[in-house]
Every structure is written in structure tokens, then in C-alpha cells.
């Protein structure tokens, strides 16, 4: 791992909680690593595991899937499905040789700008520790 | 011109050749014997039943880039793929060699497929005659033989203390070092094979285009691509453009007439929608359309398709079924 290594992170954020939470981080001027590129989706339940696989195939070092906290989904149940889908995908990716730490599922509410900034920083650090994917 | 070479000399010769050329030879990969470029001569399997996949992949790789296009400062640049080095295919069986010769028909007719042609030109084929027949083999019924030297540049035949070297072409001769002894002993007898009644098959099959036979046979067909991909003479491919951030690659990959979308046209029309039509295409192509255009049946009798088919669809059985249908028809 070189000191200059900058992991490439793609984040899928639900419009109602996590994307708003990321906006809140911006509005509150909280700094976090620049590595993440955010893709807006209506609900974390819209995030197809295939998108995540494509991200990794395209060279992403880490993928973040983020939605409302369980029980708070704007669409009532979307994040429960997200949780099932990605709990399984994480195990499977790890089995195939992509460390499960590279796929994060996080619940971030619209008011949790701070949490969002912190988790991006934490995720980036962890990815830097894992080093580039070979 | 028959020469003799001891096993040790053969290895030394191949080592010499490997310095300047790529050598593609049967090697052992995860329990399977496959034709692959070797890095050391020791990797070569000299004693093997036929490989699961034929050696056609060297001339028509499963996937290759035909050319790429890039936009650079407003300029559009096209970069065709080229063949970098001379190569040798070593250890090819006479049946597979004949398969290459059959592929030459469609690929080398004018206008020729330049990438194929270049590979073909820059590759020397060293064959290895069969000392034993496998249960699936029927090359003699398809116009070839276990010791057929017709389609190789050099043919090796294993004898007790080494190999008899038959130099077939000038290209083959060019590879030879000087000072090898001439071979004067008697050639070993080739193994005997079961025969398949291929006579008259081309005219027989023509009659049964609309016969329910095909739908019945297709009942159990899974329509996977195994038969086509193991076949030394199947040469269908698909071409797709890959755009990626300002660059486009045109890629060619194997494809098979058994695929559901194989004959789908741009407007959405598909001339072969049923399973029977698709399966019929495979046999009509091999036994009728190819012979009509290139005068040879597009089967070399290697028996791979019948052996690999998960549901035991076997070209030999199809041929004899067609004969029976013909007999029944003429009898009635």
C-alpha cells in the first residue's frame, strides 16, 4: 500500500435519508475524504446487487449502500429488503475474493450529516488499509 | 520424407523452437488436458487421449479484439489487432488438423478474414498420430485417419524409442534442424475404428427438413453451446462493440447456433424460434450447407460432441437415424 493510494469509492444513497444526510454534511461544512462518488437512488431497495458487482468489476475499491434506518424507510420496507440482499452479497463477495469490508451497508438518516461524514472517513481509511484490489 | 527422432532429441528440438516462437501444446490444467501456450517444454503432455476442447481456439480464439477506435483531440484513430509472433501448434491430432483445414474454407475465401489468415500463415502445425482409438472416434468415416498427415506441416508417430517424423510441407521442413537420420523402418499400423455410414448422407438429409424428427430430438436438447464449442469445425461468432470512456473496442467471441438469440435479427424477427429448428440447423449446416459450399462434410469424426453432450445427442446416431428415415421413406 503506497501512501498516495486513493481508494475509489462509489456510494448508492437513498434520496430521502442518506442522500439528504450527505447534503446535511455539506450544509454543515463537515469535511470528509473526497474519494466517494455518490449515486442517488430513490430507495436503498432500488440498489440492485448487480450494480455493486459492476462497480467492483469496473475497479471500485469500495461500495457503500446507504438507506434510512430500519423502520424509517420512506417506502416503509425498502431497507429491509436491502438488508437481506446485501447481507448475503457481502458474504458471497468475500467468498469470491472481494473482502466483505469493501461493501458497506449503512443506515444514515437525513439529520445524520455528521454520521455520514464520519463513515466516509472511516470507510476510506479501512479501504486504504486493505490496499488496492488486485 | 520420413525421419526419426528420439524423445530426448525431440525435447531439445522443442526447447530450441520455444526460444523464437510461441508453442501451443496439450498441457494439464486442473485435471484437464487443454491446448495452451506453454512456458516450458516439460509441461507438454505427449501421451494423452484427445483434448476436451479442440485446438481451433488458436486460430479462432474464444474472444479476440478485432480493432479498437479512439478519439484523441478530435481525431478518430483506428487500431487493428495484429499477430505478434510466429507460433507452433504441437501435438495436434489428425482429426483436429483436418478441422483447421475445414475452417480455412469460410475464413480464407475472398475476402479473407485477415486476422485468421495472419495467424494461419504464422503458425506451423506439428501433428501427433493416434496410436490408440478412443470409443468416440470415427475419423475414418469422415475422410480422415489416425495417421493422416494431410493437414499438418509435420506429423510425428510414436514408436518404441522415439518418434517418426513425417515432413509434409515446406513450412514444416523449415523448422527442421540439419543432420537427422532418415527413417527406414516400417510405419506402425494405425488403430482400427468403428464406422459410421456416412455415404449418401448429404442427399439423404435434404429430404427431412420438415420432419418432426428434429422437434423430437430437440425435446431433450438443452440448447447449451457445448457441442459447438468443443467442435473443431464450428466457427460461428458474435461481434460486439465495447465503448468505454472515449474508446471503443470491437470484440469477436464464439457463439453457437444453439443459443436462443443466435438468429434474432435487428427488427425482432427470428427465423429459427423453435428448439427443433435450432437443433436442425446444426446438423444441416454440418451435413448439407457446408458441403454444398465447400464440398466437404463439416465433421472430422473426433466424437467430442457426442461425448460432451449432457443429454447424449450424438451426430453418429443422428446420421444413422437419417438413414433409417430414408429407408423407411423409400420402403413405403
Amino acid at each position: 500500500m503506497s501512501a498516495g493510494y486513493q481508494p475509489k469509492v462509489i456510494g448508492f444513497l437513498c434520496n430521502w435519508c442518506s442522500y439528504a444526510g450527505a447534503d446535511m454534511a455539506g450544509t454543515s461544512r463537515m469535511c470528509y475524504p473526497q474519494n466517494i462518488r455518490i449515486i442517488r437512488v430513490p430507495c436503498s431497495g432500488r440498489v440492485d446487487p448487480l450494480f455493486v458487482l459492476k462497480c467492483f468489476q469496473r475497479g471500485a475499491d469500495g461500495v457503500l449502500v446507504s438507506g434510512c434506518h430500519p423502520g424509517d424507510c420512506h417506502y416503509t420496507e425498502g431497507n429491509y429488503h436491502t438488508r437481506r440482499r446485501f447481507a448475503l452479497l457481502r458474504e458471497f463477495l468475500d467468498y469470491l475474493g472481494i473482502e466483505k469490508e469493501r461493501l458497506r451497508v449503512e443506515w444514515v438518516s437525513a439529520s445524520e450529516g455528521q454520521r455520514f461524514a464520519e463513515l466516509v472517513a472511516d470507510f476510506t481509511t479501512e479501504l486504504a488499509r486493505l490496499g488496492p484490489r488486485s | 520424407m520420413n525421419l526419426f527422432i528420439s524423445k530426448d532429441d525431440l525435447i531439445r528440438w522443442l526447447e530450441l523452437l520455444l526460444r523464437e516462437r510461441i508453442i501451443i501444446a496439450p498441457i494439464r490444467v486442473q485435471g484437464q488436458t487443454m491446448f495452451q501456450p506453454i512456458s516450458k517444454v516439460e509441461e507438454i503432455m505427449f501421451d494423452f487421449d484427445n483434448t476436451a476442447l479442440s485446438s481451433k481456439g488458436w486460430f479462432l480464439p474464444p474472444t479476440e479484439t478485432l480493432f479498437s477506435v479512439r478519439r484523441d483531440d478530435g481525431q478518430i484513430k483506428l487500431m487493428p489487432a495484429t499477430v505478434e509472433r510466429d507460433a507452433i501448434i504441437f501435438g495436434i491430432r489428425p482429426c483436429d488438423a483436418r478441422g483447421i483445414a475445414l475452417m480455412d474454407g469460410p475464413f480464407l475465401q475472398v475476402p479473407s478474414d485477415t486476422l485468421y489468415q495472419e495467424r494461419r500463415n504464422r503458425t506451423t502445425i506439428i501433428g501427433l498420430a493416434c496410436r490408440q482409438a478412443q470409443p468416440e472416434c470415427f475419423c475414418t468415416s469422415m475422410g480422415s485417419a489416425p495417421d493422416d498427415p494431410s493437414h499438418v506441416d509435420i506429423l510425428l508417430t510414436e514408436v518404441k524409442d522415439g518418434y517418426i517424423v513425417q515432413v509434409v510441407t515446406e513450412k514444416g521442413k523449415a523448422l527442421l534442424p540439419k543432420g537427422w537420420a532418415k527413417y527406414k523402418r516400417k510405419m506402425p499400423t494405425p488403430p482400427q475404428l468403428k464406422t459410421v455410414p456416412t455415404k449418401g448422407i448429404v442427399s439423404a438429409i435434404r429430404e427431412f427438413f420438415n420432419d418432426p424428427y428434429w422437434e423430437r430430438l430437440a425435446d431433450r436438447c438443452l440448447h447449451c453451446n457445448i457441442c459447438a464449442y468443443v467442435c473443431p469445425t464450428c466457427y460461428c461468432f458474435d461481434v460486439r462493440d465495447y465503448p468505454d470512456k472515449g474508446k471503443v473496442e470491437r470484440v469477436r467471441s464464439w457463439e453457437s447456433c444453439q443459443s436462443p438469440g443466435f438468429s434474432l435479427t435487428a427488427g425482432g424477427y427470428d427465423p429459427r424460434t423453435t428448439k427443433g429448428e435450432r437443433l436442425r440447423q446444426r446438423f444441416y449446416h454440418k451435413l448439407l450447407y457446408f458441403p454444398e459450399r465447400f464440398q466437404e462434410v463439416a465433421c472430422v469424426g473426433c466424437g467430442r460432441c457426442g461425448k460432451a453432450c449432457p443429454v447424449n445427442i450424438d451426430i453418429r446416431e443422428v446420421i444413422s437415424d437419417l438413414h433409417q428415415l430414408a429407408e423407411a421413406k423409400s420402403g413405403s
Partner: protein, 288 residues
């Protein structure tokens, strides 16, 4: 060969055909090699006389029902294959009224290849606890009390104990051999999409390159689409012409689905599959 059982099968097939209960019977016949067996579609009683059943009858014939939708068909179903029936019933792909299920008691099937039959029982049979099909209209042969051991996933656990790097290397090598013949998909009773994701152009999930990277994506998505759906017939692994150990993928997901969601495919046609449902209180640690 259990001739008595075979006579029962032929008799049943004959009467089903003669009485017009079904249009055809999907069963097994002896293959051209005289050793192994292959699927047979019998449409008349004379063809029914070719039906056999023995320990080479590995094919999961349930797959063929998908190609005969709308027709009344009978199908021979081993205990393991019956899970595919339940899967397809759950996914509304077959009409129970249109399918006559001839359940057969199965002593386990052996490893075979063309022209060759071994004495080794297939691995999946060694851990098969089903003594009779889960669903059938008639059960022929005996319900067997077999000595099977419960699946322990020892090979999967071993792989999990390896480092992630060595697993990555392992699968890279395996997938590099894949020739994208799609036999694994074609034989799978759970694969029936009108247009497979691998053949879709818009969106383009996987390209046509027969190359490690795309092969990996192909196999990853294929297996993931079978998560909670694979019924373990292992036909995909059997038909793979380049011997990729696909059961290591399918059974990994089977194991995880069992652990995470307490679900196994094909046991109950009514139970909602894992991705159709959820429990609010499960996996509280994920994402918090």
C-alpha cells in the same frame, strides 16, 4: 437394475398415455453408449417401453417442464428433483394441474460420464436426506431408508478458512477456464428468464468476452440469482465441460441462506423465498 420398478414405470406411463391423462411422459432411457442414461420423451405406449430407471439417471427432468408449458405432461421425479417442482410451483412457472408427477424412490445416483459408469455415489446423494419425493401423484419403487449424512458443508467451511487472497486466486483460475457455453444455465431448473441478463444489451450487464473478468461476473450473477432458489441438483456442475466446481458456489449461498434466513429452497411451495420477505428484527447489527 430393478426390473420390477421399471415395469411399474412403463405400466404407469402406458396407462397415462393410453388414457389420455397426459400428452407425453418425460423419463429416462438407456443412452447410445449402452451404459449411461438420457432423457426420454415418450409420446406413445411403444416409446414408453424404452423407459428405465437406475443409478445412472442423474438428469433433473423437471427442467423440461418449462419447455412444455400449457401441455399436460408426466415427469419422473427423484426425491431430489421434487424440490425443483416445489421451486417452480412457488415461482408460478408450472401448473400443478397440468403436471403428473411420477415419483420414484431413488437409491442415489453414481458418477457417470459418456460410456462410463463408476461405483461412486454422487456427493449430493451422500448428503441427501429425502427418502421420497416431496410431491408426487404416484410413488413408484420403495421409500428408502438410506444412510445419508447431513450436509456439513465441510468443503465450503474449508474454503472460508482460507485467506481471501487465496480464494480470489482460486476463483480467478476457475473462471478463466469458463467458455461461456451456458450449459450450467440451460440445465438449471431455476433458470428460465425469457432473456437472460447475460444476453441483454440494454442494460449491458455482462459482455460477450470469454475472458476471466466477464466470466467472473457471469458466474457471480448467475449464482446470486439462484440464491435461496438453488435446489441442489448439481446438474450445472455435472454438465460443465471444463469442470468448474460450481457446487462450491451454489452450496455456499445455500449455506448462508440457511444461516441468515433459515430457508432452504424447494422444501415448501408455499413458503416465501428469502428475497420476497424479511423480518424487521433480523440482523440488527448490519448498517448500524
Amino acid at each position: 437394475m430393478d426390473m420390477e420398478l421399471i415395469q411399474q414405470i412403463r405400466g404407469k406411463a402406458r396407462s397415462l398415455l393410453e388414457e389420455g391423462t397426459v400428452e407425453g411422459v418425460i423419463g429416462y432411457e438407456r443412452a447410445g453408449d449402452g451404459v449411461t442414461s438420457r432423457p426420454l420423451f415418450a409420446y406413445d405406449s411403444s416409446a414408453a417401453e424404452r423407459l428405465i430407471f437406475d443409478d445412472t439417471c442423474t438428469h433433473n427432468l423437471v427442467k423440461y417442464l418449462l419447455g412444455k408449458r400449457g401441455k399436460k405432461m408426466a415427469v419422473m421425479v427423484k426425491p431430489c428433483d421434487s424440490r425443483a417442482i416445489n421451486l417452480l410451483l412457488n415461482e408460478r412457472q408450472i401448473d400443478r394441474d397440468k403436471v403428473f408427477i411420477i415419483g420414484v424412490g431413488c437409491p442415489g445416483v453414481v458418477e457417470t460420464e459418456w460410456n462410463h459408469k463408476s461405483e461412486t455415489l454422487q456427493a449430493r446423494c451422500r448428503s441427501c436426506l429425502l427418502t421420497k419425493p416431496l410431491v408426487y401423484d404416484v410413488l413408484l419403487g420403495r421409500e428408502l431408508a438410506r444412510k445419508a449424512e447431513e450436509e456439513t458443508y465441510s468443503d465450503i467451511l474449508e474454503a472460508e478458512a482460507e485467506s481471501v487472497v487465496s480464494r480470489r486466486e482460486f476463483w480467478r483460475e476457475q473462471f478463466s477456464r469458463c467458455i461461456r457455453c451456458y450449459a450450467c444455465r440451460q440445465v438449471c431448473p431455476g433458470c428460465y428468464c425469457p432473456v437472460c441478463f447475460a444476453e441483454q444489451l440494454e442494460p449491458l450487464w455482462v459482455g460477450i468476452r470469454i475472458a476471466p473478468e466477464e466470466n467472473t461476473l457471469w458466474q457471480t450473477i448467475r449464482t446470486f440469482h439462484l440464491a435461496g432458489r438453488c435446489i441442489g441438483c448439481n446438474e450445472c456442475e455435472r454438465v460443465c465441460p471444463v469442470d468448474i466446481p460450481l457446487s462450491l458456489l451454489n452450496r455456499k449461498l445455500e449455506k448462508d441462506v440457511k444461516e441468515l434466513f433459515a430457508f432452504q429452497a424447494g422444501l415448501d411451495p408455499e413458503e416465501p423465498p428469502p428475497f420476497a420477505t424479511f423480518r424487521k428484527e433480523e440482523m440488527p447489527e448490519l448498517g448500524e
